[in-house]
Structure formats: structure tokens, C-alpha cells
Amino acid sequence: MEDILLKNKLDKEQEYFINMGPQHPSTHGVLRLLVNLQGETVKDLKPYCGYIHRGIEKMCERYTYSQIIHLTDRLDYMSAHINNEAVCLLVENALQIEVSDRVKYIRTIIDELTRIASHQLWWAAAGMDLGALTTFFYGLRDREKILDIFEETCGGRLLVSYNCPGGLMYDIHPNFQKKVKEFLIYFKKKLPEYDQLLSGNVIFVQRMKNVGLLTKEKAISFGVTGPSGRASGFSSDIRKKEPYSAYGNVKFKEILREEGDSLARYKCRIDEMWESMNIIEQLIDNIPDGSYFTKMKPIIKLPEGEYYQRVEACRGEFGVYISSKGEKNPYRVKFRSPNFFNLSALDHMSRNQKIADLVAIMSSLDLVIPDIDR
């Protein structure tokens, strides 16, 4: 810390540093930003990661493949099910196991429910970051419905641990389809309420418009994926590019915007919630019969080689790279976590903006800190 301060010797007058985090209300976790301020204007900032580093990638080398799945929950806990799916798909592809259509459909539905739940929490927190505290309760109220569905079917609410190599832990609850349909009807009424409360608000639009601009070129070079990247026009939806599970069977739009500012990222996520509901609607009545689990050997050993599987998590592209030596544990594991790459663009986006804009930009990027530190 001292070294950094000395090295960055305040050569320009009236500049000072503040440490935003590791304990700060709007970093949503233990992220530390060393912000160089001039008055209220951010000159530059450096993110310092590692406050919640648990060495998950190294831990994975000591665990079996079925166990690794439950470590990926702890990366981006808001898209736990999608992260699990990445490892499952990797193992299934490596062993060339074909899972039944039923599994694919259920996985996709739960994926999209996870995405909606994640975006609801993001919306709730985004309003709170900008000072509209009421949004937080509206978002959580609606998210509760999804968590109840998860609880009934998967047992868990946040970290569902529903996937396993070869299928699912257990079959869906008899109420699942009914509950999901009820939720869709409910949330289609509530989502316009989100727009009424926040999206159309003059103050909100002023706070978000032309704040934190990210061009398409920069988004690509920083590797900003997910809704944040798509708001800059970077077409990066893995669900479209490399359809996995049942995404090949459904019709949906990839939400793309050109503006690349915080408002575009906001609108991208709101539209994604509509699109996710559209996907669920197409699948929920057509879940085919079949087995929810393909029998596998008790000990999974991947053949020697290198494997990579990517999925579209709630915040962008989530990739798993596994190098195997044919053992029951992987030889090396690397996770490509979307938030780490999204964070790298923060400095570029927030330069010469106000400190209040920094908060707005961070909330529009929707950072989840355990995913950055791994």
C-alpha cells in the first residue's frame, strides 16, 4: 500500500486516494478499489482482488469430478446452476454420454430461472446503489417465488446443486410445471412495474445515460461478455453460438444494443428477463418423458487430454478448462469467470467520471466478487 502510494506520487495537485472497499456498501462484496480522485472526479482506479480468494482451482485438483461441481457453485453464486452445468457438460462430452432430452429440457428451464433470479437481484441492487432503496424489496419479493420453486425441486435455494454428471440429482417435483407457469403469469405483470419504478425515471436515466461508455472494440479487447458486452454490440451469447442443452430447440433473440453505456446495460438485462421467460414458455409444456439420470460408473475418470466447455452464465461467458491425465482427479483446472474480465474494463469505463458514476457503472456491470477471486 505504502509503495503504491509512493510510486503513484501525487504528481498532479489536488489528487488524493480513497480505498473503496474491501468493506463498502456498493462493491457488493470484498472488492477493493484504490481510487485516485480529483475532487469528485475519478482519475483512475486499480482493483485489488484476493480478499475472498479460496484457491478453488487448486482445490479442484484434489477432488473427483462429481465433487468439483459443487465447488463451481461458490464462484458466481447467483448463477450456481449454470456453473454446475458447465462441468457436467464437460464430463458428459468427454465421456461421450448422451443425456436424455428430459434432462436437457429441465436443465435449460432451471438455467433460465436462475438467470431471471440473478437479474432480479441485480435490478434490486442497482436501484439501491443509485439511492432508490424501494427497488431492493420489489426485486427480492419476486425473486422469492423462483427460490421457492428451486427449493421444492432441487432442495437448495441459492446453491441448488441439482446437476450431476449424467443428468440430475432427482426428478422434478410434481408441482414444478404448475409453479413455473404461475410464476410466469405473475412476473409478466410485475416486470412492467420495474420499468415504471426505475427505467422511466428522469433522475435514473440522467444517472445512467452516457455513463461508463464502452465501445464494441474495447468490449472485445477486455473480454467483456454477457449482457454487459452485448450492450456494447459484442455478440457473445454462447446459447446462440454453441447451443448446449435444449437451447438449440428454442427460438429466442440475442439482446444486442449499440450504445454501450450504463443505461444500455440496464436495458439489456431487463430485456433478457423477457427473453428468458420466452424460453421457459416454449419448454415448460414440452418436457419429454424419459430418465432424469444416465447410469454412469461410480468413479468417473476422464480420458487423457484437454477439455474446454463454455456456457452462458448470468454475467457472461463461463468457461471450464480441464486437463486430465486419466486419473479420477483432474490434473489442472482453470475457470474462465466472466466477472474477472468485466472488472478489468472498470478502470477504462470510469475514468474522468464522478465517484457517483463509478457506483452506477459497477452496478451496471453486476459484479459478483467471489467469481473474480475464485
Binding site: E40, D357, V359
Partner: protein, 360 residues
């Protein structure tokens, strides 16, 4: 008129005290009585407002709010107050001790001074200057000094940013508050609160002064919300940016004083809005409907005053729990580029109205 004149009560108290004491002692005793009454009133209003805010914000947020302590959580604020009293007062290293301790009291004193000039009912006010409006504006702007000192003396950069914001904000919005009140002073022709209320005997100024008074009322509500550092103008304590802004380092009762000061300032601006625009303790009268006016007269003036104030406080809470926060440059743009020019035009318009007898 059915209105009870409280000056009968106050003068009878004055007479009974002065019959047994010297004039100097009478003044001292009367001041002590007034002080105690205001202290009690202050504490009571603080408790009620904190409870009301928690309940109202809960209902906006689909919650129930405090429900455990007492019936409907009525005792919650008292329990909180006891907790705050018993908390440790943390003193920060390298903080400017004198200013750090002084700051909350400056905030409280400023609101205390202002509350004395408010007419609660006919004859029921402590100070009735002929420059009442000017006095209230002057003392209420002392409060920002406390916020600036708190931010400066805390030896914390977040606090300092909060204090800098607060300084810029209050100084700017003071202009709009002043000018919107001046618009009504032009209409009323006096700065004395009691006379302003009396002048609204035939109709509240918001109706009498029609368009310019309405504009002035809206501007007053916006800029007084900003002046009291309440959302969406709560930049000085912007929670998501500056953790708690100027009172980040305060704990226990000193924090409670800032907290109380904020609510009292809200009460003061709401009661000034009620007095100047909505007729203060004057009942609602509609010319021509004599029986209606008679019924309105039966409602005591104090109830009229409190209910008008409560409505304005509710509007301010409604605004706070709905809107996101502004950014500092947008805040200053709103004042200097929009509110101030509109205000200046408005005051000219009001002068024209008064000159040409266009008002009712």
C-alpha cells in the same frame, strides 16, 4: 370566529408569574418554561417522525416495518433511543476533538432556533418577529455549518466528500428556498409569520396567488427537501457512495443528534410550507359556503396546522422512497440552470400580479 386565541393563555401565565416575581426573574422563568416545552415537543416530534418514516417506508416497500416492540411496534423508536443512549461514543484518533464534539450540537441548535418562530396556533409561538421569514432562513442555514464541521473534523475522506457536497448543495438551494418564500412575501406584504397567516383568512396563498404561488410552492418543496439533505438529494450521506457521508464516524447519542436534527429540519420546512402556502393554522374557507366554513371552524387550529404539516412531510417521504439519488453536478445544474431562473421569473410574475390586482 371560533378560533381560540392562545395569547389569552400565555398572557394569563405571564400575569400570574409577574405578580410574584420581579420582571427579570419573570423573563428568566418564562424562557425556561418555553425551553422545556420546546424540548418536550422536540423529542415527541422526533419520536413520532422516526416511527412514521419507518412505517411509511415499510408500506412503500411491501413490508410491515417495526412490529415487535409494543403494539404495531409503537415502542420501537423509544427502544432505539435507549439503545443509542447506551452505545459507546467512539473517539477517532487524529480527529479534531472540539469540532467533532461540537458539530452535532450546532445542527441541533440551528433547528431549535428555527422551531421557535413557527406559529402553531393563534398566539401560540415563542418568537414573532416582524422579519420572521428572514430569521427562519438565517438560522436554518446555520445547520450546514455543523455538517461541514462534522465532515472536516472526522479525519475521514468519505466524510469530507460528504461535507463538501453538503456545503455546495445547501448554499445553492438556500437561494431557491429564499426566493420562493419571497414570492409569497411579495403577495402578503409582510414578513411576520402571524400576519402572513392572518392574511390567509380569506383563502390560502396557494389559491390566492394562483399560478405564481403554485410554482413557488413546488420549488419550495423541491429545494427544501434538498436543504434538509433528504433523498433524492441526500448526497451528503449518500449511503451507497460514501457509506454514511458526514456522520460516518459518529456513534451513539451524537449520531442520534444528527438523526434527530434531520427529522426536525424536515418538520420545520414542512411547517413553514404549511404556514406560508397552506394557511398555517387557518381553517379551509371557501367564499360563499358559509355553513361549510362554520364546520371547518370547529376543527381546532392546532389540528389544522399539524395535519397540513403531516401531509407535506408525507409528500417528502414519498419522494424520498421513490426516487434515485441525483449526482452532484446534476444537483447543481438543477438549481442554477432551472430552479433559480424559474424562481426569478416567478417573483417578477408575482410582483406583476400584485401590482395589477390579478390575485384573488
Amino acid at each position: 370566529m371560533f378560533l381560540y386565541d392562545f395569547s389569552e393563555l400565555t398572557s394569563s401565565i405571564h400575569n400570574s408569574i409577574s405578580s410574584v416575581m420581579s420582571p427579570l426573574a419573570t423573563t428568566v422563568v418564562e424562557m425556561v418554561i418555553a425551553g422545556i416545552v420546546f424540548l418536550l415537543f422536540y423529542a415527541l416530534v422526533g419520536l413520532i417522525l422516526v416511527y412514521a418514516e419507518r412505517k411509511i417506508c415499510a408500506f412503500f416497500q411491501c413490508r410491515l416495518g417495526p412490529m415487535r416492540v409494543g403494539k404495531w411496534g409503537l415502542m420501537q423508536t423509544i427502544a432505539d433511543f435507549i439503545k443509542l443512549l447506551m452505545k459507546e461514543l467512539i473517539m477517532i484518533k487524529n480527529a479534531d476533538k472540539l469540532l467533532f464534539n461540537l458539530a452535532p450540537f450546532i445542527v441541533i441548535i440551528a433547528s431549535f432556533l428555527a422551531i421557535g418562530a413557527i406559529p402553531f396556533a393563534k398566539g401560540l409561538h415563542a418568537l414573532d418577529f416582524d422579519i420572521g421569514v428572514l430569521y427562519v432562513m438565517a438560522v436554518s442555514s446555520i445547520g450546514v455549518l455543523g455538517i461541514l464541521l462534522a465532515g472536516w473534523s472526522s479525519n475521514n475522506k468519505y466524510s469530507l466528500i460528504g461535507a463538501m457536497r453538503s456545503g455546495a448543495q445547501v448554499v445553492s438551494y438556500e437561494l431557491s428556498v429564499g426566493l420562493s418564500l419571497m414570492t409569497i412575501v411579495v403577495l402578503a406584504g409582510t414578513m411576520q409569520f402571524s400576519e402572513i397567516v392572518e392574511a390567509q383568512n380569506t383563502g390560502w396563498f396557494i389559491f390566492k396567488g394562483h399560478i405564481p404561488a403554485l410554482i413557488a410552492f413546488v420549488i419550495f418543496i423541491i429545494s427544501s427537501t434538498a436543504e434538509t439533505n433528504r433523498g433524492p438529494f441526500d448526497l451528503a450521506e449518500a449511503e451507497s457512495e460514501l457509506t454514511a457521508g458526514f456522520h460516518t464516524e459518529y456513534s451513539g447519542i451524537k449520531f442520534a443528534l444528527f438523526f434527530l436534527g434531520e427529522y426536525m429540519n424536515m418538520f420545520i420546512v414542512a411547517s413553514i410550507a404549511a404556514t406560508v402556502f397552506l394557511g398555517g393554522w387557518m381553517p379551509l374557507h371557501i367564499v360563499g359556503l358559509d355553513s361549510f366554513n362554520m364546520i371547518m371552524d370547529y376543527i381546532p387550529p392546532f389540528i389544522w396546522f399539524i395535519s397540513k404539516t403531516a401531509i407535506i412531510i408525507f409528500i417528502m417521504m414519498w419522494i424520498k422512497w421513490t426516487f434515485p439519488r441525483l449526482r452532484i453536478d446534476q444537483l447543481l445544474t438543477l438549481e442554477w440552470k432551472y430552479l433559480l431562473p424559474i424562481n426569478l421569473v416567478n417573483i417578477t410574475l408575482m410582483a406583476l400580479c400584485v401590482l395589477n390586482q390579478w390575485h384573488f
